[in-house]
């Protein structure tokens, strides 16, 4: 069987130094950044509410699409 498995939901890894705005600008270049950030955060509440001082890390998953309805 082919090794290609479609992801259930789109996602990316953060890059070094990334924040919400840089991810939004990269993943949604055609959208207003503030709007894209709001969407990104709503799809990744586990990162938004991660208690300080924990930060977003390179091994985290950032969803770039909503959960299945």
């Amino acid at each position: 069987m082919s090794a290609t498995i479609e992801p259930l939901r789109p996602w990316v890894y953060p890059r070094e130094g990334d924040d919400w705005r840089s991810i939004a600008a990269r993943e949604f270049p055609d959208r207003p950044v503030d709007e894209a950030v709001a969407d990104l955060q709503s799809w990744n509440l586990y990162l938004v509410f991660r208690p300080a001082p924990a930060m977003m890390t390179r091994s985290d998953i950032v969803f770039t699409g909503p959960p299945a309805a």
């Binding site: 069987m1 090794a3 992801p7 939901r9 924990a54 890390t57 390179r58 091994s59």
Partner: protein
């Protein structure tokens, strides 16, 4: 002349095949012969009386990394029939650790694995730095077989120093980590462990979480050279995140030809479809050629706590969490402050449940009291006591804690993994390995022992979800195959004579009890075994129900397949 013959036994060979009535002979620590009839003499003959004889159980997820340095039996796992423990899970190991990082590593281990600081400090000799030196420090005192994973966080710390907690590794640092992992594997490490969720004592991500995907991929390439395994802790409470992690693990498995195992696969009322969704994803990855092994524990989670140490039960209730994190005197003062108490009570009833747990304060049990006049309350539910006293259960808990200088011990019963209807199918699923027991960890919070007996009592005898031979396979042959333990987990002539003799009708875990057997008179929660008659490690009688631990040391270090060969 054999060293030992165990005759008149119902023999389960660890492959999942039905048992047969016969005998097993042992010589020089290995199985010499077995069959329905066995000729020859032996220095010792045991009549099993028709009891079950199986390969020693293998506990694939333990944290005896510290305890094994002062307790070569990994008590009480051995008495539950466990003859091999796999340490070093979740990226945390006691080696390789440079002397200057001992304080940090100790603090992280005590935080995540909930080991009392006094016991840890008194027990740890720290007379090693490298992985080889660490294994050598306890190799000769083992009464149980020990396999140890190399912790990804420790590899980073060794190579990068403090920067391991701050940033990604450079290409050169990744290459040095690869070489260090090879050195660990050559010294006897079974594989690698990492984590995508753990936090340290300062609530920062453990070092391995700072790794870029390329770093983990490079380390998995080394595992591929050795045929070694990787264990990881994923976001086990979130179905979408868990499914992505399963896909990542599947890709790593295929690319490097390795087995990857995640733990825990955890059922919760908060996410009732999680296990089925995760298993569907594992099944898909398996069909595509990956070896992704979910580990599932058998027991529901009970959490026992006192208010002088933070516990995850309160992690999603900000006022409780902030109050408990304060110094002892300030916590006491806050518990008596009318304003704070009002907030605490409000949060107790209306706060968020912690991840993967369902917590109801009035159902907490008064586990242990410090003052004599409160002893009659032990074992009783806060709700019932409060009803008698015509007061609020949460106020009652605070009053008790204050009166006893925060020494009262409470238990939140069955806060997760407690839905038998949902768990039974996955426990029996051939893709699922029994694991995640956490032996040696959380010792002041709950007992992490006896999952083996519980598998038989709950899922074989009560639920009928597994045949006895399937249960034995899940605790022996399946684990050995998944983890590359080439000469354990089955009964075959030539293989190691790790054996457990037990009563299929009574094997179980006993009740949770507190014992003060850690260094510095530290206490921990344990469970004693029921129905386990004898345990042999490499042919040496290590434990018997009649005489307890023999004191004879037959345990070995268990290595990755290439090194073991």
């Amino acid at each position: 002349m054999y060293d030992l013959i165990i005759k008149n036994a119902r023999i389960f060979d660890g492959t999942g095949e039905p048992p047969f009535h016969g005998a097993v002979a042992v010589s020089e620590g290995r199985i010499a012969a077995m069959g329905t009839r066995l000729d020859g003499d032996a220095r010792a003959v045991v009549d099993a009386g028709g009891r079950a004889l199986a390969p020693g159980f293998i506990d694939s997820h333990t944290h005896f990394d510290a305890q094994i340095t002062w307790d070569g039996l990994a008590t009480p796992s051995l008495e539950h029939g466990v003859t091999t423990v796999i340490n070093g899970n979740c990226s945390l190991t006691m080696a390789p650790v440079r002397a200057r990082h001992r304080e940090f590593v100790g603090a992280v281990f005590r935080q995540i694995e909930e080991m009392p600081a006094a016991a840890f400090d008194a027990g740890m000799r720290w007379n090693w730095e490298t992985f080889e030196e660490y294994l050598a420090s306890f190799r000769d005192q083992l009464g149980i077989n020990v396999a140890t994973l190399a912790g990804h966080s420790m590899l980073r710390l060794w190579v990068m120093g403090e920067a391991a907690r701050e940033r990604c590794a450079t290409d050169d640092e990744i290459a040095r980590m690869q070489q260090l992992l090879r050195e660990c594997l050559d010294a006897g490490a079974l594989g690698l462990s990492t984590s995508w969720v753990d936090i340290d004592h300062e609530h920062r991500p453990v070092p391995c979480r700072l790794a870029a995907p390329e770093e983990l991929d490079a380390l998995c390439a080394v595992l591929g050279e050795y045929g070694a395994v990787m264990q990881v802790v994923p976001e086990f409470w979130d179905p979408d995140l868990l499914c992505v992690r399963i896909d990542i693990l599947g890709e790593l498995s295929r690319r490097h030809g390795i087995t990857v195992s995640f733990s825990p696969l955890f059922d919760s009322n908060a996410t009732p479809d999680l296990v089925q969704r995760a298993l569907a994803r594992v099944r898909l990855q398996t069909l595509h050629g990956a070896r992704v092994v979910p580990q599932m524990q058998t027991r529901p989670i009970d959490v026992t706590f006192e208010f002088d140490m933070p516990t995850s039960v309160f992690s999603t209730r900000p006022t409780w969490w902030a109050t408990i994190l304060k110094p002892h005197a300030e916590t006491l003062r806050d518990f008596q402050d009318a304003g704070v108490r009002k907030q605490l009570v409000e949060e107790a009833y209306n706060g968020l449940h912690p991840i993967a747990m369902e917590v109801h304060f009035p159902d907490f049990i008064v586990n242990r009291c410090h003052l004599a006049h409160n002893k009659p309350l032990e074992g009783r539910c806060l709700r019932d006591i409060a009803a008698e006293r015509d007061c609020d259960p949460v106020e009652l808990m605070l009053d008790l804690a204050v009166e006893e200088d925060l020494k009262t011990c409470f238990t939140a019963l069955e806060v997760g993994h407690n839905n038998l209807e949902r768990i039974t199918g996955p426990i029996a699923d051939p893709l699922v390995q029994i694991g995640s027991g956490d032996g040696g960890a959380h010792v002041t919070r709950f007992a992490t022992y006896g999952d083996t007996g519980y598998l038989f009592s709950r899922f074989v005898r009560d639920a009928g979800a597994l045949t006895p031979e399937q249960a034995v396979y899940k605790l022996t042959g399946q684990v050995a195959a998944n983890w590359g333990l080439v000469d354990r987990g089955r009964l075959r002539p030539g293989l190691a004579a790790d054996l457990v003799l037990f009563d299929l009708d009574t094997i179980d875990r006993g009740p949770e009890i507190a014992v003060e057997d850690l260094p510095a008179e530290g206490y921990r929660y344990v469970r004693r075994a029921r129905g386990v008659e004898q345990v042999y490690v490499n042919g040496v009688l290590a434990y018997s129900a009649g005489d307890g631990y023999s004191g004879d040391r037959g345990g070995r270090i268990v290595s990755s397949p290439r090194v073991a060969a």
